[in-house]
Amino acid sequence: MNFSDIDPTAFRLSLQVATTATLLCLVVGLPVTWWIWRSRPAWSRILSTLVLLPLVLPPTSIGYYLLFALGRQSAVGRFLIDDLGIRVVFTWPGAAIAAAVVSLPLFVRTAQGGFEQVEPDIVDVARTLGRRPTVILARVVIPLAWPSLLAATLLSFARAFGEFGATVIVAGNIPGETQTVPVAIYDAVQAGNDELANAIAFITLIFGFVVLAVTAVVLQRVR
């Protein structure tokens, strides 16, 4: 296996995209999970279905809708580009947004499992003690659900790192700018460079193994 032809930028970009996507999952996912958990059953079901949708859609469909939503064709896209001067399509932040949308269902599902293990009476008492929901979330729920939240974070990171379909449509395949590891593998295979594809894929295999092993060890220590 020849590792010398590998462009380390793809790995740097993938880590950048996966880290940003994971942060987005945390920022959006925690309140969404809280909302699903605390809402009336009807609202909870609707929200849950919306959040889980990316899990059953082909990532390319998600990419297609994001391309539309973030591009000039939509009002949001026009606002971002014309008023704020932020271009997302064909940039690495675009790839991070796509990866976050695809990873969000995994985050929410896993985090929800953790929230559900927190006894409802504990939250009820906290509510009667006059503290804001954000304080209850930060001081009561997260400390009690954190093993599941850690698992959710690591799973989202791994999913975002490996994301291909949505990111390639939103961010394209620009070496050094938007070409992440999965796209680099696809590129190598398309170019008939099996040795390069093999080398990159091998590194991802090691990476995946390490992430899962770390998750297992951390969770075991916590429990």
Binding site: V123, V125, R127, T128, L129, G130, R132, V140
Partner: protein, 366 residues
Amino acid sequence: MLSCDIRVDFGDETLRPSFTTGLGITVLFGPSGAGKSVTLKALAGLIRPSSGRIEFDESIFYDSTASTWVPPGGRQVGYVPQSLGIFPNMTVRENIAFGATGGRQDRDERVRRLVGLMGLAGLETRKPPTLSGGQQQRVALARALARDARLLLLDEPFSALDEGLRQEMRHELLRLRDELSLTIVFVTHDLREAHLLADRMAVIDAGEIRQFDAREEVFRRPINRRVADLTGIANIFSGVVTAVREGEVDVRVDGIELRCGSCGGNSFSAGQAVDVAIRAERVNLRRRSPEELAGTNAFEATIVRELPYGSTHSLQFQPIAAGPSLHVELAARPYDVLDVAHRRRWTVELPIADLHVMERRTAQGD
């Protein structure tokens, strides 16, 4: 003054608790699933009623006509659920301080005072999982009081304790009631607990308050068969009024006339179908014959079943001729003195003052 008159639609069921109470302990008593906990949660603001009004002193917590709704955190009530809801990730001090308001010094002072009041000194830095059941109860009570709550809502808080500790915590609660000026609503399905703690008692069944009154009134003068049954009256007979006198009613039950001296403020008329109740511990066993005790509701009966509970004996009597079957509860001492173990045939006397007559309402299924 706490006033609650609400309708709560909960799943397929509708609850309509309605009562007004004041300082001291008000026990919400009833069987499992009667709606006690839901009522308490509505008072705490954890469940939003469909309509009605909840008012405590000068504060209106909920009023559907004025669209008033105070969320749980704004009600300044102390709430302790059955599982206590202790924060296991925080120390005793942090648990108590979680709800305390004011500056750091105020909070520290308040926590110190509550630690002293609840006998938790020395345990401030311990985490709840390392505490005993009784200590956890005290932490939950201290935390509920940390916001200077004047209304305390307790949902079977002692049910997970063993009998000794439970007794200790009940006395602790009575002490708190006397030391602090508190309105306490206490949910229980334990009759002994209700009797010990209640200043006033609401008997709740199928989502409605069947009777709300001072404890002794509820225990001695239930308003109907269902309440009598729920409050543990073992002897309830169906009968027909035969004569009405000043403060007394004669009722024909199973072939004999019973003089009943407790009418609960109701007026009855001859021929009316009624229920008559007497608590098992109120029945007397006499050695003399019914003829010698004429005019005192005495008839001959024989013991057909006996259950020794240690401190008391539960005896079931079958009449020799006319009269109803009876459950009699006898303390161990009189049981031995009367030598009940060796004598099966007795004259049972139902004291006139203890025979309580209730209206019979078939429409309620009572």
